[in-house]
């Protein structure tokens, strides 16, 4: 189980790096057709949750799927069937997860290429070093730390994923936790999984905290001139940069649209509306709590400078480094311990929304904190200082200076956190009250349990649309701020 997990982490990381690094390099250094569009487009695959990516690709390559339909146009059916193409295995999933997760590496590399590289790259060129050697000797070593921090995020997402692994029957540690839930928390499966995850989390959280900010701040336009390319070369590069976007976004979206179009009755049903509203409502409450907590943490850091405030913030951020399934089990164990042997006062919490919301807050506080931090640090510290030197106390300063200036950042943060919660699967699956469904759980359950990706498609598509809006919102927001 641990080895499977390690193999998945390494495989997904490698493929993600191969997809991401050349794109980031070309986009930040060269001028080629559609560059501006592709630069932002390559961020979009993060809007597709890993489990949706998994079952959509499984559907594409199924015998009745679009791959066969398309291939039959060129190759006769018998030859095609004799190849016996099977993608529902470890290797297949490595690719599909990488399609969804490469933007983490891409955006981290993009900043690094954009900021540091230009003049150094030119210096190397002026010393007569050719483009290929320049990349390996100059650019790559410079962006390596950024790539590693992007890969840390990919690792976290692989560790966090339950839906795709379960759909592909791959037995990773997260699957182990789900098994333990039904059995016994002291089982060796659970303990070894926990041990592995704790080690991995501690190891990568260091990278994570630095990288999250970078990912967000990447999206502004570079202010320098790009190197021109010959027309043929430019077309080729456009194609290379287009491939990851095509595999990570266009292809799965087309597949889901075509699947959903055969299920219009679901889209126009009352159930669909109720489940959507349910999901939004469920996402809104923890998102609001997270925004408020982030605001308090950040303001506390300004007012009470020093190690302790930063320590509190760092602790609050750790949730993002822990897979959702572990948080869910931990929260549940906590209530069970609190409740004691008999069904006591706290028993009502089990199977309640409160527990679910609590788990979401732990898991996604870091997302809110880091998104809001960007807006917070745009406000120079001199502004609150000025306010206080005019005799206005710290609470009033918060209301009169910070709050009006943070309005748009607060809204952005709320939207980003809500979308992350909407997409979340393991916590929701483990802690959802009986008969309570969200877009994510319905999409997953329809695909996995009733084995109908067609029925899942409308829900999956709605999640992707909402996610895409949030990503575009973030891109726009950061481009604006960086001007």
């Amino acid at each position: 189980m641990v080895f499977t997990t390690l193999r998945m982490i390494l495989g997904v990381g490698l493929i993600a790096a191969i997809l991401a690094i050349p794109s980031a390099y070309f986009v930040s250094n060269y001028q080629f057709p559609l560059r501006g569009f592709l630069r932002k487009a390559n961020i979009l695959p993060v809007a597709i949750p890993t489990y949706i990516m998994g079952f959509t690709y499984a559907s594409i390559f199924s015998v009745t799927g679009s791959f066969y339909a398309f291939a039959e146009l060129f190759i006769d059916r018998e030859t095609l069937y004799s190849w016996d193409i099977d993608v529902v295995n470890e290797l297949g999933l490595m690719f599909f997860l990488a399609f969804a997760l490469y933007p983490y590496v891409y955006s981290a590399a993009l900043v690094s290429f954009s900021i540091k590289n230009k003049s150094i790259e030119e210096a190397a060129a002026s010393l007569g070093v050719g483009p290929w050697k320049r990349f390996w000797k100059v650019s790559f070593p410079i962006v390596l730390p950024a790539v590693l921090s992007g890969l840390a995020l990919v690792t976290m997402e692989v560790l966090n994923d339950y839906g795709a692994m379960a759909y592909f029957n791959i037995n990773t540690i997260t699957a182990g936790i789900f098994q333990a839930k039904q059995m016994d928390f002291t089982s060796s499966v659970f303990l070894s999984a926990l041990f592995f995850v704790v080690i991995a989390s501690v190891f990568i959280s260091y990278y994570l905290f630095k990288s999250y900010k970078k990912v967000a701040s990447t999206l502004s336009s570079p202010s320098y001139d790009l190197m021109p390319m010959e027309k043929k070369q430019g077309m080729l590069v456009s194609f290379v940069v287009f491939i990851p976007f095509f595999l990570g976004f266009i292809l799965p979206v087309i597949e889901l649209v075509s699947l959903a179009s055969s299920r219009l009755n679901i889209i126009f049903s009352m159930d669909f509306l109720i489940i959507s509203l349910n999901a939004v409502q469920l996402a809104f409450i923890p998102a609001l709590i997270i925004v408020l907590l982030s605001l308090i943490l950040l303001y506390n850091e300004y007012i009470n400078k020093g190690f302790f405030s930063r320590f509190i913030s760092a602790i609050s951020n750790i949730g993002y480094a822990i897979p959702g399934a572990i948080i869910a089990v931990a929260v549940m164990s906590f209530v069970i311990v609190l409740d004691g042997e008999e069904k006591g006062f706290y028993h009502f919490l089990i199977d309640s929304l409160i527990l679910l919301i609590f788990a979401f807050v732990i898991r996604f506080l870091a997302v809110g904190y880091n998104t809001l931090e960007g807006g917070f640090y745009k406000i120079t510290k001199q502004l609150p200082d000025a306010s206080r030197s005019l005799g206005v106390g710290s609470f009033k300063t918060f209301i009169r200076v910070y709050f009006p200036l943070l309005k748009s950042a607060l809204l952005t943060t709320l939207a980003i956190v809500m979308v992350d919660i909407l997409k979340e699967l393991p916590i929701t699956l483990l802690l959802q009250p009986f008969n309570f469904h969200t877009l994510a759980t319905v999409a997953y359950e329809k695909a996995k349990i009733t084995e109908s990706v067609r029925d899942a498609a409308p829900f999956a598509l709605l999640l992707i649309i909402v996610g895409t809006f949030a990503v575009l919102f973030l891109v726009k927001d950061f481009s604006k701020k960086n001007k």
């Binding site: 001199q382 306010s387 206080r388 005019l390 206005v392 009006p404």
Partner: protein, 305 residues
């Protein structure tokens, strides 16, 4: 006693001691300039006075009121100390008028005072604009008006000219000087530019490695600096027999020294010459621009002006 007293302040950031047993007394309504190289602790001292930093040790007293000692720490909002920030720190979401009124209480008197300030600082036309629509000089005036609106007992200015071009800088210097006379409150200006300090201040304090090494009237510091650091901070000089000789003290009307011009460069006041004489390299202004490299010259040293 009216004035500010800073006593034995020590402040470190990590392992580096920024202020080291630093003391300074400012009497009455003096305009004091705090000079020092970057990293000498000027801005930190200012932030300690205003309450945005707290030291490990020391005492701050303003007009007989203890603001800071071992037991007591008065919060910045309760100190009545105005501050002009390097980038002015105007609230971007508020109009000029609301910026100035930010710290004022609502009363007919303060309303009248607000009008008066807007008039004094010639901001009537701009009062409904947002700070981003103002020029650098106008922003500067809003920042000063805003700080004065709450009748502070002391006004601190942290590098207020650093964002202004030379012409505007000169103009604003004159305005600030006039304002100091009009409002008669003590002021402390932090600057790294000797011209600001020499022109504006009643007294100059020089910070070196976290300590005030000299405090006195501008001419005293200029002509009788206590060490090479102070001498260099206030302008070019030649150390000769434990005296710091300024270029304008060299006169070609006397012939106490014989020397040779070894370098010459154009400057606005006259060619600046390096003359080798008596084993020293003297700096001198050649107002007539007649001497060139290699010329033998005779000169004398004028007493301090």
């Amino acid at each position: 006693m009216k004035g500010l007293s800073i006593q034995h302040i020590t402040k470190s950031f990590g392992s580096s001691k920024v202020l080291n047993d630093c003391s300074l007394d400012i009497n009455g309504n003096d305009f004091v300039a705090l000079l020092g190289e970057s990293g000498s602790g000027k801005s930190t001292l200012l932030r300690l006075i205003s309450g945005f930093e707290s030291p490990e040790k020391g005492k701050v007293i303003l007009n007989n009121r203890v603001l800071l000692d071992d037991q007591l720490f008065v919060k910045p909002e309760d100190r009545h100390i105005g501050m002009i920030f390097q980038n002015y720190a105007l609230f971007p979401h508020l109009s000029v008028r609301k910026n100035i009124a930010f710290g004022m209480s609502a009363s007919p008197e303060s309303e009248a005072y607000l009008e008066e300030l807007i008039e004094i600082f010639e901001l009537a036309e701009q009062q409904h604009k947002k700070p981003s629509n103002l020029s650098g000089g106008q922003q500067q005036r809003v920042a000063i008006a805003r700080a004065l609106a709450v009748n502070p007992s002391l006004l601190l200015m942290d590098e207020p000219f650093s964002n202004l071009d030379q012409t505007l800088r000169r103009k604003v210097r004159i305005e600030i000087k006039a304002m100091h006379e009009k409002f008669s409150i003590p002021m402390i200006l932090v600057s790294h530019d000797p011209e600001d300090a020499l022109e504006l201040a009643d007294k100059i304090a020089v910070l070196q490695q976290g300590k005030i090494v000299q405090f006195g009237v501008p001419s005293e510091l200029y002509y009788n600096p206590v060490n090479q650091y102070v001498a260099d901070l206030l302008g070019p000089n030649t150390k000769y027999k434990n005296q710091f000789i300024r270029p304008e003290q060299i006169t070609f009307n006397r012939s106490d020294f014989q020397g040779k011009v070894i370098r010459s460069a154009f400057s606005m006041r006259g060619n600046i010459l390096v003359i080798e004489a008596d084993g020293h390299e003297f700096l001198a202004y050649d107002y007539s621009r007649t001497n060139t490299i290699g010329d033998e010259v005779s000169f004398g040293i004028l007493a301090n002006h």
